[in-house]
Amino acid sequence: MTEVEFLIWVRGPGFQIATVIFVVGILLRLFEILMMGRKVNLAEPKGSEMAGGMRTIMTRSLHLAATGSSAYSQTAGYIFHIGLFVTILLFAPHILVFQEVFGVKWPSLPTTAIDAITVITIITMFAVLAHRLQNPVIRFLSTFDDYFAWFVTLLPLVTGYLAFHRIGLPAPSLLAIHILSVELLMVVFPFTKLTHAFTLFLARWYNGAISGYRGVES
Amino acid sequence: MKDTGTGELRVEAGEFLTCNVEPLLHEVRHGLARLLETGETTTIDLRGIPMSPGEEDRIMDELGQGEVKAQLSALGPSDIIETRFPGVWLVIHHNSENEVIGKFIEVCEIPQILRAQREDIHHGLAELAERLA
């Protein structure tokens, strides 16, 4: 397969396949979870479900009193998540993809800013991995899924950086590899812990709701 | 872009340029310093620099014109102009169709091409000798 054929494939059939698997996978898991339903609690509610749920979303999202390992995880986590959102959603060529698929568009950031944020995000990703490897408890609890999810998230950042700066290979190949790495991420997304992107607020709300119903703090 | 009314289109430099003017002038400055210190000449090929429309005109305006203007007729006309900075020359080569085939800034006491060349002097001497024979 020539360089051009590769690029055409990832922009064509590759993207179709990845999107279908991604959409089917995420909706399958979401609805599977929703179908589990909630056990009916016949006790009288002592507080508000909704208030408890919403408050727990907030409290579980930001721990200002965290120290040590938790503080490290939280800070690094916020940095690379924000970095991911910025590099994915505020880079002009990416916005074009969303515009093509969903018909909506929004302003972009200058490429110099995106470039710097990409580097910061990549460094933070490695910092996060280092923490996982060095902390004995986290290392003990880590499975293949944890490392794999980290890897498929890092790959588009690195390949995107190389494609933008045209380093190492001819430009069409670099672009094709970058798009392929995104398609890999999309394909494995629903079957790894990355699904947290769609389930985390649901999970936090539910935890809070259970306690809120009982009138206790969660 | 502006239509000057004479059927000629003059491009005006926009606010955003590729910013070649300042770096180029710096290079010329360093070249002049080198020329004074060691006698080393510097040549800059203007065609190797990507310039936005109107930028080249700005550079020409900055360099201005000095005391010397020479025209060479060999394989078409060439203009050798000293800019307002002595030692900084503009050498523009044209073919016989008046199309530009080379554009250089030379930082030197005198561009090599203005000097009479030894081979041509030999040739001239032989011709003169024949005439006087």
Partner: protein, 363 residues
């Protein structure tokens, strides 16, 4: 013919009445043409002085003649013209005066006289589906190429058709068009791609061979690095607009009028390697982007099939909306189905009073 080629280029030019000054001007322009630094002029002068006139045979196959047109846009003595005087163009069936058997005889004679030393220039692709699709004097392109390549010192494939197959090679490629490099494997080939290539690039490559008697440094697609080493995007004067996020959204909007970046209009600058942004066209007048049109990527292989000239590089080439709708429906249905199955499984487990084990908790 043969004793003319014994003279050096310096001698040939002096015989044409060109002074040393004229020669120096020629060298300065040639050095600039080859994208070499001006400091190399004296080396170029020395090399050209002592160079011998190489014989050049130019074969045109499945082409539109655009490459020859591009090269011959200038008339009387120009650098391109001088280079053609400096070489001995022994065969070019668009430009030559002779035709028919006389022309073919001239070609065979030139090949014989200069065996192992002549340069073969090719423009146009070669049809493989049926060699009879393109013939010259009854000889198929394939046969003529193979025969002429045997005694060539090097082959210059001019234009995207000869370099990569070009427009005849575009889907569905009815003639089975292929590039020169798909057929000739045992000779050095220089691909001077572009549709057409910039004239000074063609001359520059010939000048390089003339001056140094060697092949310039090539990239992985066998194109001279001096002209194809940088992407258009890296030398484009509109790059500051791209970096600032200022794009033209359509061909006649405010952004287009202000000269903003053409990425959204499908510009292939980021994935195209050529000298258009620096060397430009028509003796440095302009190039497509400067004229307001996105780069087509014409010096890259298969640019005709590259996903559409007006579709930005980052956009998927096929329509995705319908598939997303179907996938959503399928996903929801599957999720609900699995959920129902899970509920049934749980009900069965409850009914048969199955104990919860550690394995269930690990799921």
């Amino acid at each position: 013919m043969s004793n003319e080629n014994e003279k050096t280029l310096g001698e040939v030019l002096r015989l044409q009445g060109i002074t040393r000054r004229g020669f120096l001007k020629f060298c300065a322009a040639t050095t600039s043409l080859m994208a070499l630094p001006p400091a190399m002029v004296s080396r170029v002068a020395e090399a050209l002085e002592n160079a011998r006139r190489p014989s050049v045979i130019w074969l045109s196959f499945q082409e539109c003649t655009g490459c020859t047109e591009s090269l011959t846009r200038s008339h009387s003595p120009t650098i391109e013209g001088l280079i053609f005087n400096a070489i001995s163009l022994d065969y070019h069936h668009t430009l030559q005066a002779a035709s028919g058997t006389a022309a073919e005889e001239a070609r065979k004679q030139a090949m014989q006289d200069n065996y192992g030393k002549y340069i073969l220039v090719v423009d146009g692709s070669i049809p493989q589906a049926n060699p009879q699709y393109s013939t010259i004097a009854g000889v198929s392109n394939l046969d003529m190429l193979e025969e002429t390549a045997k005694g060539a010192a090097a082959i210059v494939a001019v234009g995207s058709c000869a370099s990569f197959g070009g427009i005849p090679h575009a889907h569905p490629n009815p003639t089975g068009a292929v590039a020169v490099s798909d057929i000739i494997k045992d000779k050095p080939i220089i691909n001077v791609s572009g549709c057409p290539p910039i004239p000074v690039v063609i001359s520059g490559v010939l000048a390089q061979y003339l001056t140094f008697g060697s092949i310039p440094e090539l990239d992985e697609l066998h194109r001279p690095l001096a002209f194809y080493g940088k992407a258009i995007h890296d030398r484009c004067y509109r790059r500051p607009f791209y970096d600032k996020g200022l794009f033209a959204e359509s061909f006649d909007d405010e952004g287009a009028k202000k000269g903003w970046c053409l990425y959204k209009l499908g510009c292939k600058g980021p994935t195209t390697y050529n000298a258009c942004a620096t060397t430009k066209w028509n003796e440095g007048t302009s190039f497509p982007i400067e004229s307001g049109h996105p780069c087509l990527g014409c010096s890259q292989p298969d640019f005709w099939d590259g996903g559409g000239f007006y579709k930005a590089l980052s956009i998927p080439t096929e329509n995705i909306t319908r598939n997303i709708i179907y996938a959503s429906a399928a996903g929801i249905a599957a999720g609900v189905a699995v959920g129902v199955m899970n509920k049934a499984k749980k009900a069965r487990a409850n009914k048969s009073h199955q104990k919860t084990t550690i394995d269930d908790l690990k799921k």
